[in-house]
Every structure is written in C-alpha cells, then in structure tokens.
Symmetry: C2
Subunit: 413 residues, 2 copies
C-alpha cells in the first residue's frame, strides 16, 4: 500500500498559504507505517483536479484530497470528484440540521451559502465533521481509496483522526516502516557526516538522511521490516553506531524540539528560567511557552526593546548602555543577570542584537547578536554574526540561546 496527497487550492500555488496539511498528513501516515510517496498540489480547476486524480490512482492505493469544500463559489472539489467517480449530489436533511446547529452554537444564524454543504455524493461514504460544516467523503473503486477532506487544518485533522486513520490502520498488516530521528545541534552537516564515519554500515539498518535546520542537523533513519521486532532490532543497532560516533551532539530523538528538551531538564531538577529579549522580540518566550506544561519552569520574560526598558525592567546600568551600547557583551550580561534576579529564576537568558534590516553600522552590522546566560554560578555572554535577514537572525538567535542553556544544563557549556 502507498499513498498520494492531492492538495487543492490556488492559494497554495501563489504562496498565500503554506501547505502544512500535506506535512501533517505525511507524518500521520508515516506513524501508521503507510508510505506517502507523492504530493500533488493543483489549483481550483476541474481539469487539473481530474488529472491529479488520474495520476494518483494510477500508482497509489490511497489518495487523500484536501481543500475546496467550503461554502463559496470557488469551492468545486466535491462536485468534480463526485462526477469523476460517476455519482451525483443529493440533499441530506440531517447534515443540514447539524450545520445549522453548529452555527447556532457559535451564536450565528447559518448563512444561506452553507446550505450547499448538505448536498453530498450518493456514491461516497460520508465521514462526519463535528468541528466545521464541510463533511469528509470516502470514494472506493477497484480496491482503491479516495478520501476527500476540507482544507481547514482543524477540520482536516478531525476527520483524519476520527475516520481515516482508523480505516487505514485496519488495512496495513504486512509491513512496518519506522522513521527514527536523532536531533543534533552545534555541528555542520558535512562535519557530522565525517564524524559518523561509515554511513554504509548504518545503512545496513535503513536509509539515512541528513536534514539541516536552524537548530542543527537531524539524522533520520527509515527502517522497513516485516515485524515490529525486526524494526526495533535495526533501530537499536543503528542507535549504538550513531551514539558511539556523535553522541555529544545529540540533544533528543523523534521530533522533540530543543525548547522541550531544555524544559524537561529544568522540570526534572525543579529549576526555572526567565528570558530577556531585545532583537528576538519574544520569539524565545514564544518557543518555550508553546510547550504544554511550560509554566512548571518558565517563570516569565521581559521584551525590552528600548534602552529605557532595559534599565527599568532589567536593571541594566545606564553607564553600560552609554559606554558599550545596547548591542554589546556587557549589556547582554546585565540583561541575563537582571532578568534572573528580577524574576527570581535559576537561569536567565538574554539576547541583544541587530536583527535588521535597519539599525546596522560598520562597527555593529546587521546580524551581530550577543547572547547572555546567567546560571546559579556565573554570568557570561557570547558574540555571534548571523545573516543579513531579520527572520533568520531572530530564528538563529533563539536557537543558539536555547543551545547555550542546554549545554549549561548538561554541564558542557
């Protein structure tokens, strides 16, 4: 069995929307051992949708179509696919009642436009959507499955989890696929490859890929076997090889983010952190608090853009700001130490830099960032030169700050 996702929507093609649905579906299919090997993205055009269905069903057992089920005139997916499988749309009063009560529960009367969503194919199984008004559908033909879902992520996820994944799980028996990931930080891709030494040996256990991110390089091994036991044997052997060579760079496995690893260490030690951000403007706090349960160790943050705020909220001395400037090692040190004391946390992290595009000078160019760390025993700051791009500077600064804290917590910082 293999699968193809068809993503429908002009907004995906002109870059107005990023196709996060395909990634999410790919991950869920991968989790149940079903291989997604193609994603086709096309616009809201009947011919393009038909051609994509032809291509998908020629080579795949399962097609999962998302998008174009909304209430407005540009949503043509349902009609096109019903026609494709030789059916017609019929009116469902119970579905209309549900859509009406869905709107009423949110304090609206159902707009007339939504009535069309109660017309559903007579040749498909309806997959209920309790979090929106567009129902899911399953067309079956010649041992092939064609699932059709709304493009709104929340609704797509609901129908995938309540209807589609259970159906697919039933069908998968004779093969297990595991994607296993080791996450590394602080080492470039090619250096990591050199240190791993004998990649061919690791590849006796599966396919190895190097995936560079802002935070570091992920090593991903794809293992296929007939049983879970065999997969696990391969995973363990590969893990031994990899850890023997590059263990010191590995901060976690799977898709765990560095902010979660850091958080788990802090929680296990009953320690806390506070963050003072200038050029990252809240990104580090946002990353840390995107982790459920972060209130156990994340006490607070100060986003101090102005010098005045650095003085008032963090206690940075005016003399330091005058002598060295807001973007300096000394200021980063006082910010880290200041937030640690003011918030009464065990660790204080700070970032000050020139994110750009404006604000750079010959002496302090865009991309110059100081990152400070105050621990129970010392306070220090490091200097970095990142890129000429605001977003990259903010992302790299945040990743580097988390890495500094991680290393300090592990005692090798």
């Amino acid at each position: 069995m293999n699968a193809c996702v068809i993503s429908i929507g002009n907004e995906l093609l002109i870059g107005q929307t990023i196709n996060t649905n395909a990634a999410w579906i790919g991950q869920k299919l991968s989790d149940i051992g079903l291989l997604l090997d193609t994603v086709i993205t096309v616009g809201d055009e009947a011919q393009a949708i038909v051609e994509a269905l032809d291509a998908a069903l020629a080579k795949h057992t399962v097609a999962i179509v998302t998008g174009g089920l909304g209430p407005t005139h540009d949503d043509i997916t349902k009609k096109v696919i019903t026609d494709y499988f030789g059916g017609k749309l019929v009116f469902h009063q119970p579905v209309l009642d549900k859509i009406k009560s869905y709107f009423e529960a949110r304090g609206y009367q159902m707009p007339a436009n939504n009535e069309g969503q109660a017309w559903l194919p007579d040749n498909a199984e309806i997959l209920p959507n309790k979090v929106g008004s567009a129902q899911g559908m399953l067309f079956r033909k010649n041992e092939k499955y064609c699932f059709v879902l709304p493009g709104v992520p929340r609704e797509m996820k609901y129908i995938m989890e309540t209807s589609i994944l259970p159906i697919l799980r039933e069908q998968i028996r004779d093969q297990v696929i595991l994607h296993y990931t080791w996450r590394t930080a602080g080492v470039p891709e090619s250096v990591l490859a050199e240190k791993l030494d004998n990649v061919a040996e690791i590849e006796q256990h599966g396919r190895l890929a190097f995936l560079p991110k802002y935070t570091g390089v992920d090593l991903r091994l794809t293992i296929k076997a007939g049983t879970i036991q065999n997969v696990e044997t391969h995973r363990r052997a590969a893990d031994q090889h990899i850890r023997a060579k590059v263990d010191k760079y590995i901060y976690g496995t799977g898709d765990i983010p560095l902010e979660q690893v850091v958080g788990e260490i802090l929680r296990s030690r009953k320690q806390t952190v506070a963050v003072a951000e200038s050029c990252t403007g809240g990104l580090i706090c946002h990353k840390m608090t995107s982790i459920a349960g972060s209130s156990d160790y994340f006490l607070g943050g100060m986003i101090t853009y102005s010098n005045d705020q650095k003085i008032k909220a963090l206690g940075v001395s005016e003399a330091t700001l005058v002598a060295h400037g807001a973007v300096s090692e000394q200021t980063a040190v006082e910010m880290a130490s200041g937030v640690r004391h003011r918030v009464d946390a065990d660790y204080g992290l700070s970032v000050t830099g020139i994110a750009g595009p404006g604000g750079g000078t010959a002496e302090k160019p865009v991309g110059l960032v100081y990152i400070g760390l105050a621990t129970p025993t010392e306070t220090r700051a490091h200097r970095y030169m990142f890129a000429n791009d605001r977003e990259i500077n903010q992302e790299r600064s945040a990743a580097t700050a988390l890495l500094l804290l991680f290393k300090a917590l592990k005692g090798d910082g």
Copy 2:
C-alpha cells in the same frame, strides 16, 4: 508560459519539514506574472524524480526543482537530472575554491564530503550560490527550462533572486496576471460572502477566492489581462464594488499582516504600545517585532506566566488574583493597565487564559481567554472561548488582541 515546482525530499513526505519553499517560489512567480499551476513533491528516489520531470516537462514551460543537492550520500538530485538530460558531471576547480573559502570564512576547514559539490553537469548553465556550497543549475531543452536549486531556503532564495527570476522576467511579455488580496477580520467566511452580495459581478473582473485564516478571511481576486493598464482597470472596479459592500471589515491589502497595519497607524500617530502576555507567552510580542522597524512604536512586553510576576512586573493586585483568579476579566484589565503605565506606552494590550492542554476546570475550561486593552482614555477586557488546542488558542488570542487594538485605533472598537 506556465511553471511546475518539483520538491524533492523524504523529509517533506513524512512531515518532518513543511514545504515552505514551494509557497515562496509560487509567490515570486506570481509577482512576475508567471502561473505556477502544479507542485509535485517526491522523495529522494531516482525513479520518482524522473517521473516527476516527465510529468512536469510534458505540460509546463518551466520546471523548478528544489532539494537533494547537499554534500551527503542521500543527495541524488544532481546526478539524476544530469543523466536525465544526457550529460555527465565534470570537476570545477574554481567552484571548489569558492566552497573552500566559504567554509574558511566561517572558521571551518572544508570537510571532504563537500568536494563532491564541485562536480557539476557539463550540459547545464551554473547559477552561482554565494550563500552556501550547492550551486544552482539550468538545463534547457526544446524551449523548456529546468532549474535545479538546493532545498535550504536561504540558498534557494538567493539563487532564485539573483539568477532565475531575472531570466524568467525576460521571457514574459504577453500576459499580465495580478493576484490582489483584501484582508478582512472579524467576520466569518459565509457572512462575508453574503454581504458581498453579487459575486458574479466581481468575477467579471477576475476570479474571486475566499481564504479563511486565524486572523480573518482574505478575499483574493486573480486578474488576467494583456496589459498592466487593463489589469489595473479591473482591479479598481473590483475594489470599488468590494469596498462598497464590506469596507468596514477590511484592514489591509496584499499580504500585509495585521500587526504591520497596527504598527503603521501607531507610527503615523507617534504612539506606542506595550504588551503583557500570559497564555500567549510572547507570541504577540514576537508577531509585532517580526515587523522591521517595530522599535519605533513597540516599547516592550512582559511575559508573566506566574502570579508572582503578574504582581511584581505588572502591578496586578494580589486581592484581584485571589478574588477572581489569574484568568479573569479583572486580571486582564489590571495587566493591560499595568503594562501601559510601567512601560509608559500609549496603549497596553494583555492576554490571560487557559491555553491547554492542562489547567482547565469546569468553570474555566481550556480555551477560555480574556483580552485586555488600555487606551489613553479607557481600560477594558473581553471574554472569549476558543478551541481545545494549545496552538490554536495561542494563535487566535494573538490575532484577536491585535484586532482589538486595530479597532480601537480606528475608533470603532
């Protein structure tokens, strides 16, 4: 002329990486009036790449391939495509020298692995990459263009902007495509469609699409015409119609985010804002400071996760926290007012709520959020019930807070 993007990488199929490259390329092509009508995503497998090239070049003038040009063994794109077009790889000393000096400038010696990146096709034009070690390539055959780029976003963007877009711009003469977007907030998709009334009339000028986001619904019109003048005539006529019907919901056009619109109003009035965040944990500050130049109006933020911090950093009274709890209208009011005074800003925004998954009770369930706003003349807070998902609760809270501030600035809040 039309275009197809081929995204290569197993990480895209198993959901480990979201395909942001395709969206970015789609937007850039759309800006120059070249229609991207298909994206095909496949894994790092020779046969899959060849089939995608066959499909792309059968129906498109331009194929843009990204991914799989890295230094490690799983990067097979260059070899496969060189073979596909009947060429072979040859060694380029000047390219090797550049890669070496690229590494040296970053303080590393070039790892041996990267030497392979100096082997380049003899049947392609090389498109220089000054921000990384994988060069871009252009294969031409039968009036068709096949561009090949690294998948690292920064390197892909560099080669697109310095080499590919200039080449394509030259080729496009006889058709102008404009995607024009009106951004609305505070109105559901189907209500907006009803209020627009006669969509067919708007569609005399182009194709209209409704795109729901966390922040609201975008209306996008795609206009095709022979000249820029004709496109502009259509755009103006559609703009008149749309503004006559739904002007009060429109906060901007194009891809301008609400935080930028809010920022521009503040800057034009020489006013400032400060933000106190609890359950959004820095997301609002991050959004505001992701805008270049935000230091003109964004003074600072306090991320106060703990009650203690709400008292110390914002001056929320202990009595309020005891009587009403941290998630309450009263606390939101005191947070907004507190951050406004402490940071000495014209406006204070605050958010306190239960993002989930933990922390909910029968009385205060996950998804309950209070958003406060302190203006120069009044302070108030509103109650919201969002979803059962941490990420959605954080995103909706941030969007709603920005919308509240926007409405207050416009005087209709």
